[in-house]
């Protein structure tokens, strides 16, 4: 019996090690290729992994005069920080109202939002672009425009947060109201401190979303490379015809983008797990 157990454990370890290699392999290659020397080996696709000469050429390029990488990076950071803060506030407000208050049309509102959620997001792209253009928020004004779009529709993503609020006993609210606290004070002084995990989850998810958005970001910032975010810029590097020259630069940029986001995610992983698990069970 012990022998059988030991063997099955060894098999499990082998599977886990193979899985780990598969999962880490692309990241490993990405990092290694970002160190290829641009001078001697150019920046294109080559048929070997390890550079013949290791150097920081690609990283140096990103911070050089000729590259707008720092600008793109700052753009993305600005969008991510501001929209994460505002989206979190919006989600908390909507969740509290829907979880705690009973008002006429509450069910109707939730049903309408559920139906709206089934329309694909890109359907309205042209119309949104036009609305933003009327406000002067495209092209060079794309950064505030993107923030506006992200925040304006964030109220519909209340499910996970409301689910969490629902688990906080209502008797707490009632006790506070008997003591004369207003609804606003209850939200601010009681519900928010009690919901730290879900607030961190909401902020984390909305912080990470802008790093991946290249569809809408490229549409809104069309033609103005100053307003690109990193996703739009990197995707252009990889897909333009001269990506042969930019491939290692894309790798280097990818590493620089992935490191802070990954560290942040790993630090807050606990809250993320709590959020997705809670969301999955309640549907």
């Amino acid at each position: 019996m012990a022998e059988k157990n030991r063997r099955s454990l060894i098999r499990s370890y082998i599977v886990l090690i193979i899985l780990s290699i598969i999962w880490l392999f692309p990241f490993f290659c990405l990092v290694v290729q970002s160190f290829r020397s641009y001078e001697t080996e150019f920046g294109g696709m080559v048929n070997y992994l390890f550079p013949k000469k290791w150097s920081l050429d690609s990283y140096r390029y990103l911070f050089s005069e000729g590259s707008q990488f720092v600008k793109w990076y700052t753009n993305t950071l600005i969008v991510a920080f501001i929209s994460a803060a505002l989206q979190t506030v919006v989600v908390i407000c909507v969740s509290y109202a829907l979880s705690r208050m009973r008002f006429a049309g509450r069910k109707l509102l939730m049903n309408i939002w559920l139906v709206l959620g089934m329309f694909p997001g890109f359907l309205t792209m042209i119309c949104l672009y036009f609305l933003l253009k009327q406000m002067g928020l495209t092209g060079s004004g794309a950064i505030p425009g993107l923030i506006l779009i992200y925040v304006a529709s964030s109220g519909m993503g209340y499910y996970v947060c409301k689910g969490y609020f629902d688990t906080i006993p209502k008797s707490l609210d009632e006790a506070a109201r008997i003591d004369g606290a207003s609804r606003a004070r209850i939200l601010y002084e009681m519900i928010v401190p009690l919901s730290k995990p879900i607030i961190i989850y909401t902020a984390l998810v909305s912080f990470m979303a802008p790093w991946c958005d290249f569809v809408f970001a490229s549409y809104v910032a069309f033609g103005t490379s100053d307003s690109y975010n990193v996703a739009v810029a990197m995707q252009r590097w990889v897909w333009t015809n001269d990506y042969q020259g930019f491939f290692t630069r894309f790798c280097a940029g990818g590493v620089l983008i992935a490191i802070p986001v990954t560290i942040l995610f790993m630090c807050l992983q606990k809250y993320y797990v709590e959020g997705v698990t809670g969301g999955a069970v309640k549907g």
Binding site: L9, S12, L16, L19, I22, W23, P26, C29, L30, M45, N47, V90, C93, V94, Y96, A97, F103, V115, M118, F119, P120, G121, F122, L123, T124, I126, C127, F130, L131, A152, S153, S154, G155, M156, S182, R183, A184, R185, W211, C212, V215, Y219, A231, Q235, V238, F247, F250, G254, I257, A258, V261, T262, F265, M266, V276, T277, A280, V281, K282, G283
Partner: protein, 464 residues
């Protein structure tokens, strides 16, 4: 059968509600004081005379603003709604450009005007209701709420209005209005040849829908059904393969005796942490004809010519599903890990004593529990995969394209990526709108059908 009844019932209750509302308006007028009656015409009058300035000014300002928009601006567009403009861009006799009508603006601002009119009716109704309440209070000899109380109530019993005002407005302007607009566009001929401001577009009825499903040469039927078929196949595999394999990995790591559980999980979770466009763009290039995988295989002498991962229809489809496992397994693993720990351990103990094998325990205990708890989650995952733009677009951009497919579609295009191409590459907005509506219909039908057969909906108490 049941649904039919409930629809009839809800229509019935809607009319009952309208009747009740009209009756209340009548009663308000018949029994109301002179201030109230005058308020039917002069919005906010009653409130202001009774010194309820907060209410009075709020409804007055809203009403004036809406009327100003409707008559100062919106009406001139609304009258053109039936034709969407008749005067194209041309030249005046003196040679200057005459701009003519802009169909896009006419459609958009007409919709806004219609909404403004509805909003005005609503404000008027609120105004009447406020006077009605004031009348009732005075008749009972009670005091009217002061302005202070009115404003304070926005932080207390009416806090929901404060909280929801901005989010609802935002969703309305940037989600509802654009969706209604695009639904309208599906019934017009707005495309590359009819682009405002230079050209006009106009209503064409359901022609676009007919074109999407028609099988003759001008129709997109064969392409549409091919893309729809692949969308469903993709969503099926992407959902269920990830689900079962993710659960398998979670059970593997949860197994008694496995050390460094946290390390294994962290390695997998890295995929979620790294922004998808970095990892997926890189992986896409790894499998390119001049990418690492092909180079290694050729260097090792296993193949002579590069494997056409992205240019062969079947290779591309299988590869995308496989790479999606790399994306999706960690996510499912995280969710399953927490849920598996919730299964009472004594269930397994007693099963073991009864001599159950691991496989039997999985099929009789683990799987039913997981399916029960995650039923709605599976549904949302399925819908999410129908709309899974990033994975497809970053890896293959929908390719390989083919002469057999119209509208720029490729063999790995989902409806959603096709919609994107229609908008951005082909500027064929009318078909983009039609495809968007199709995506909605597919999602809605699947949700409705599945939701009604989900065990956790039928039997809420099941595993509690």
């Amino acid at each position: 059968m049941n649904q039919k009844k409930s629809i009839i019932k809800s229509i019935g209750s809607f009319f009952a509600w309208i009747g009740k509302d009209l009756k209340e308006i009548g009663v308000t007028f018949a029994k109301g004081s002179w201030q109230t009656r005058l308020s039917f015409l002069l919005i906010g009058f009653g409130q202001l005379v009774r010194k309820q300035f907060a209410r009075g000014l709020a409804v007055l300002a809203a009403a004036v603003g809406l009327l100003y928009y409707i008559f100062g601006f919106g009406m001139s567009y609304l009258v053109d709604l039936p034709t969407l403009g008749t005067k194209g861009r041309g030249f005046n006799p003196d040679g200057t450009v005459s701009y003519g009508d802009n169909s896009f603006l006419i459609l958009l601002f007409s919709l806004v005007t219609i909404v403004a009119i509805l909003a005005f009716v609503f404000i008027w109704r609120v105004n009447v209701r406020q006077n009605y309440q004031a009348d009732n209070l005075l008749r009972e000899g009670k005091k009217l709420p002061t302005n202070r109380q009115d404003l304070y109530s926005l932080l207390d019993e009416n806090f929901d209005k404060t909280l929801l005002a901005l989010p609802v407005l935002g969703i309305f302007v940037f989600t509802v209005l654009p969706i209604i607009f695009m639904i309208c566009v599906a019934f017009t001929n707005y495309d590359f040849n009819h682009q405002p401001p230079a050209k006009l577009f106009t209503w064409v009825g359901s022609e676009n829908f007919a074109q999407l499903v028609s099988m003759d040469t001008a129709g997109l039927g064969s392409t549409f059904f091919s893309v729809l078929g692949w969308t469903l196949i993709w969503a099926f595999f992407a959902t269920f393969l990830n689900y079962f394999l993710g659960m398998g990995v979670a059970m593997l790591i949860n197994k008694k005796g496995i050390k460094f559980k946290k390390l294994w999980r962290t390695i997998l979770v890295l995929t979620i942490a790294v922004p998808q466009f970095v990892s997926l763009l890189y992986i896409g290039k790894m499998f390119a004809s001049d990418g690492l995988i092909n180079s290694w295989l050729m260097n090792a002498g296993i193949i002579d010519r590069a494997i056409p991962f992205w240019t062969n229809k079947n290779y591309a489809r299988v590869l995308i599903i496989l790479i999606n496992l790399w994306v999706g397994i960690p996510y499912m693993m995280l969710i399953a890990t927490g849920l598996l720990m919730n299964i009472p351990a004594d269930l397994y103990e007693s099963a073991k004593i009864d001599g159950a094998t691991n496989m039997q325990m999985f099929r009789r205990i683990t799987l039913p529990y997981m399916l029960h708890v995650t039923g709605p989650f599976l549904l949302t995952q399925f819908i999410g995969n129908i709309n899974n733009f990033n994975v497809i677009f970053l890896l293959s951009q929908g390719g390989p394209t083919s002469v057999n497919l119209e509208g720029g579609a490729g063999y790995t295009d989902l409806l959603i990526t096709w919609l994107y191409k229609m908008t951005v590459t082909n500027t064929n907005y009318r078909m983009a709108a039609v495809i968007g509506i199709m995506v909605f219909i597919v999602s809605a039908v699947i949700s409705l059908c599945v939701y009604n057969i989900l065990p956790s909906v039928k039997d809420e108490e099941g595993f509690q």
